[in-house]
């Protein structure tokens, strides 16, 4: 498992990466009431805004962590956004993506580094 500075977690399984947001991020955002997910099949660039999250407080964007192609999105969180709050590391995942050729996630933080970052 790897982590981004934008509080996403990245879980590699085979050649696909599952992406969600951390427990810490959901606590900061508050109750999530709306999730706008990208279309499966979309090619994305690192840093592109691909998910819109709305909490009771405000809107925020989730960025593509790397270049690649979205292979699957979690329709369950669009139907019930509270899943992101209740199970951010499990049922509240956002999307799966296939990294572009030659793209690695080795440079992202491991759990210890992420925990150090959020204090």
């Amino acid at each position: 498992m790897k982590y981004t500075e934008e509080h996403e977690w990245l879980r590699p399984e085979g050649d696909v990466l599952t992406v969600g947001i951390t427990d810490y991020a959901t606590e900061q955002l508050g109750d999530i009431v709306f999730v706008d997910l990208p279309e499966a099949g979309r090619e994305v660039k690192k840093g592109e805004e691909i998910v819109v999250l709305e909490s009771v407080k405000a809107a925020s964007d989730i960025l593509a962590p790397i270049d690649g192609t979205i292979t699957e999105v979690n329709q369950a969180i669009a139907d019930d956004p509270s899943l992101v709050n209740s199970d951010p590391h499990g049922a509240g995942w956002f999307f799966r993506m296939k990294p572009a050729d030659g793209v690695s996630i080795d440079g992202f933080m491991d759990e210890a580094a992420y925990k150090a970052m959020i204090g």
């Binding site: 109750d31 009431v33 709306f34 706008d36 009771v56 809107a59 956004p81």
Partner: protein
């Protein structure tokens, strides 16, 4: 003010910290945004049971006529508001608006007739200006005094009546917009049966030294939970109530803001005390001819919240903006997004389909009657 270090504490600051509040600067005060359950849970708790709000940041002002006759204070205040103050019975409260010469709204407030004086509650961000406005407008015949040694708390929700009656039996038979000076938990309080959530409930003015004791006594009831500003906003939005600075300000008239119910007949054309308030020309003309635009409720069709400042359009593509959303968010009780905003009068009928632009996309919204959630006021 951007830093909590500059913000003033209310008399309940220590209690908020003990309760684990997330404190934010608001109108110059350090206020609880939320407690650990979060905005959604706090909102739902208030609608289901009872919530306790610290609203000590608001201004509490007493107006006393030098003649000693409260009717003189009422007549004087009527020069600043398009409201029937003289007809307000003893122990009764009424919503009012300070208007400016152009017919815009300087602030909204509550006015109470306490028999020998008037008691006003005004918005925190406007209270310094309101006080100066009152001194300038009424100073010749009235003493105007800001109460800086009192806290204000609100107890709101369907269990509020039972909870407060347990501490102050004399509140049990109070009706909506009634006011009584009573002892609560041994403290001399001024209690009004009113609020800003759409629920039954009370606002309680208490000497600041006793504020924490009062709050603790109310929180001792298992039905009562502390509620922060976040849920206060979503509760008032579902109730269709205006937030000064968002939904009403100097650019909106009371008629445009759909607050004509606050302008009693006696102050309208043909009434015994018609006009005589700032901006009367425009306001009376709009009452007669209708305003160009109106504040309406808006129900977005999808799940995406439509927030304040989103432009409104008549069509899904093309055309100029026809209005703007002034408040919007997610309504936890409704389980759906809710908003309000200004639209041309011709597009203000409930059921009218409009479009709000959010992140470059036009989302369908339908004009809807307010409140979005039925209110629970104790009117009899």
């Amino acid at each position: 003010m951007s830093d909590t270090d500059d913000a003033l504490p209310t008399p309940l600051n220590a209690l908020h910290r003990r309760l684990g509040a997330k404190l934010v600067p608001f109108a110059g005060y350090e206020m609880p945004l939320q407690y650990s359950p979060g905005i959604m849970a706090e909102h739902l708790h208030c609608r289901a049971k009872a919530g306790l709000f610290d609203v000590s940041h608001m201004g509490q002002i007493v107006v006393t006529a030098r003649s000693g006759d409260v009717a003189d204070a009422a007549r004087a205040l009527e020069r600043l508001v398009p409201v029937d103050v003289l007809g307000l019975g003893v122990g009764r409260q009424r919503y009012a608006l300070f208007t400016d010469e152009a017919g815009g709204i300087l602030d909204d407030l509550m006015v109470t007739n306490l028999g020998d004086r008037l008691f006003l509650v005004v918005n925190a961000a406007c209270k310094v200006a309101d006080f100066a406005h009152l001194k300038a407008g009424l100073g010749a015949e009235c003493e105007v005094r800001m109460l800086t040694d009192r806290a204000l708390v609100a107890l709101q929700g369907p269990e509020a009546g039972r909870v407060l009656a347990g501490l102050a039996p004399a509140t049990a038979d109070m009706r909506f917009m009634g006011v009584r000076e009573v002892e609560v938990a041994g403290l001399s309080c001024m209690v009004s049966r009113s609020g800003y959530t759409g629920e039954d409930g009370f606002e309680i003015s208490v000497p600041e030294a006793g504020a924490e004791r009062l709050a603790e006594a109310l929180l001792a009831d298992a039905a009562v939970a502390p509620i922060g500003l976040g849920a206060r906003d979503s509760l008032r939005l579902e109730a269709g109530l205006c937030l000064y600075g968002n939904d009403i300000d100097r650019t909106t008239s009371p008629v445009e803001a759909a607050l004509t119910w606050a302008i009693q007949k006696v102050r309208r054309a043909g009434g015994a005390r018609a006009g005589g308030f700032p901006g009367a020309d425009r306001i009376l003309r709009e009452l007669a001819d209708g305003p160009e635009r109106l504040r309406v409720g808006l129900l977005p069709e999808g799940r995406a919240p439509v927030r304040g400042h989103s432009p409104l359009f008549a069509a899904e593509s093309g055309g100029e903006a026809i209005g703007e959303v002034t408040s919007g968010g997610f309504g936890p009780t409704l389980g759906a997004p809710v908003a309000m905003g200004y639209v041309p009068a011709a597009m203000a009928a409930p059921g009218t389909r409009l479009f709000a632009e959010v992140r470059g996309k036009r989302l369908a919204v339908t004009v809807a009657a307010m409140p979005f959630v039925p209110n629970g006021y104790k009117k009899s």
